[in-house]
């Protein structure tokens, strides 16, 4: 099985061809944004961070941002800094060059002499990048080049027995073809940690997964003094029929299919190996979707029961639901309906094949509703508040 993707010089494959303009620190936002407003074909990447941060948070910020830039979906990047911030040009250049040799440009507002001069120069750079990016053509690539991100959001009971089960079939197909899939949202494995341990490819990996899950709950509780099993499931999850976190988690893990997990990664790290992986990270949907893409997922399959319209600045996010009422009521952001598994009209095997075909169409250029809506949410988790 194949799809039409962009083969980058660094060997990675993308399903989109973004020319990214981003602030290196939030203070550079207005100049970066004005450049994208002036130059058609550019993609604005929001960055809330870059200064006033603890070193651990600076490191995570740089990991996530440069992970996104390194993703095969990005042609190149122009970073617009201010001049006095913590994260400087050298930091960006070094971190990006460790991951990829793709086009990287940097402008500094204080050096260029104000917003207007920065925007004028930045627009010239961006225009040239867009011209060069347009010369990239899609070619036929094997399914083994795909990394599928797996996400749940606004779950209801149908997530656990319909949409995640169907998605699990897609995950299986990709793993069988030699590709990769990444699952995350550590808190939404609480109650299923014993199953995750047994799914580790080796006992050591099983322990890594198990410890990530039990430690997440302990660390969250100790930090906030709250019981995670009271705040998750959310009020919306509960209205929909999910009662306990264990019930939600047992449903969530179905999207990972049946194969063993090849490793457990920490938040912010790029996954350059093939297989099925888990990223230890927050369940906050926007931040987690960004984490999957920063790790290398070119496309994200997002199951929802209550409905969640989010997208991502550089990757297509496919919305899948097993709740037929939601599929109709929220049709302007739902891409795929698996509810035929509940009525019995279609088997999981049939729906899995249909969803796989749909995913390959999206990879080859068909737009998701999130892309059509212009949904491009961005978020990075932080350990500490700003100084």
């Amino acid at each position: 099985m194949t799809f039409m993707g962009y083969r980058r010089d660094d060997g990675r494959v993308g399903v989109r061809n973004h020319v990214v303009v981003m602030p290196g620190v939030l203070c550079g936002e207005v100049a970066a944004r004005k450049i994208t407003e002036q130059v058609e074909g550019t993609t604005f990447l929001y960055n809330q961070n870059g200064c006033g941060q603890n070193p651990k948070d600076l490191a995570v910020t740089l990991d996530i941002l440069t992970g996104l830039i390194a993703n095969g979906n990005v042609y190149g990047v122009l970073v617009v800094g201010l001049g006095c911030e913590f994260l400087r040009k050298d930091d960006y250049e070094k971190a990006i060059r460790e991951k990829t040799g793709k086009p990287f440009y940097y402008l500094c507002i204080q050096e260029e002499g104000g917003i207007a001069r920065t925007v004028k120069k930045g627009a010239e750079i961006a225009r040239k990048m867009v011209e060069d990016a347009a010369k990239c053509k899609r070619e036929e690539v094997e399914l083994s080049e795909l990394t599928l991100g797996l996400e749940c959001g606004g779950s209801d009971p149908t997530s656990g027995f319909s949409s995640n089960t169907v998605l699990g079939r897609v995950t299986d197909s990709i793993i069988e073809a030699g590709g990769s899939a990444i699952m995350s949202e550590t808190a939404e494995a609480i109650g299923a940690e014993h199953i995750m341990r047994a799914r580790g490819k080796t006992p050591a990996i099983g322990e890594k997964l198990y410890n990530a899950i039990v430690n997440w709950e302990r660390d969250w509780f100790e930090e906030s003094g709250e019981n995670i099993r009271e705040s998750n499931p959310s009020p919306g999850n509960k209205e929909g029929g999910l009662t306990t976190l264990a019930e939600k988690s047992l449903g969530c893990i179905h999207k990972s299919g049946k194969y063993p997990f090849d490793d457990c990664y920490e938040y912010g790290k790029i996954i350059d190996k093939k297989g099925l992986f888990f990223i230890n990270a927050t369940s906050y949907d926007v931040v987690n979707t960004v984490a999957l893409v920063a790790a290398g997922a070119q496309v994200v399959a997002f199951t929802t029961g209550r409905g969640n319209p989010i997208g991502n600045p550089i990757a297509p996010v496919i919305k899948i639901t097993g709740n037929h009422d939601a599929a109709e009521w929220l049709e302007d952001f739902i891409d795929f309906d698996t509810s035929a598994s509940i009525t019995g009209e279609k088997s999981f095997a049939e729906l899995g094949q249909e969803l796989l075909n749909f995913t390959l169409d999206i990879c080859s250029g068909k737009k998701t509703k999130a892309e059509i809506n212009g949904a491009c949410e961005m978020g990075i988790n932080q350990n500490y508040s700003y100084a």
């Binding site: 209801d156 009971p157 149908t158 656990g160 027995f161 609480i190 109650g191 299923a192 940690e193 199953i195 709950e217 302990r218 509780f221 019981n227 099993r229 509960k238 929909g240 029929g241 009662t243 306990t244 976190l245 264990a246 019930e247 047992l250 449903g251 029961g305 709740n323 009422d325 509940i342 009525t343």
Partner: protein, 93 residues
């Protein structure tokens, strides 16, 4: 007419596929048979109904796994949700 389903043969609950009014028959396939149980409470669509009696503090199974424990006795045909089911606490989980 089927209006619910069981996920795993060991489960204590079924999921209803339409809103159920108290007194209505809730029917699901169990192996080759069709089982019908009258609902003793209203049950919203996609919510759970008990198909076995559950004593307070006993665990409740769905997907063949423990999804929580009963906070009060639960009758056959009763809506199972936040009013009578909670997660096992952190220490035991």
């Amino acid at each position: 007419m089927l209006n619910s389903f069981i996920i795993n043969g060991k489960d204590d609950v079924v999921t209803v596929t339409e809103p159920i009014q108290k007194g209505a028959q809730v029917s699901f396939e169990l192996g080759q048979e069709i089982v019908s149980i009258p609902a003793v409470t209203d049950i919203p669509k996609y919510h759970k109904m008990a198909i076995h009696p559950v004593k307070k503090h006993d665990v409740v199974l769905k997907y063949g796994e423990v999804i929580g424990r009963a906070t009060q006795d639960i009758q056959v045909g009763e809506h199972v949700h936040t009013q009578n089911l909670e997660d096992l606490p952190r220490e035991e989980g």
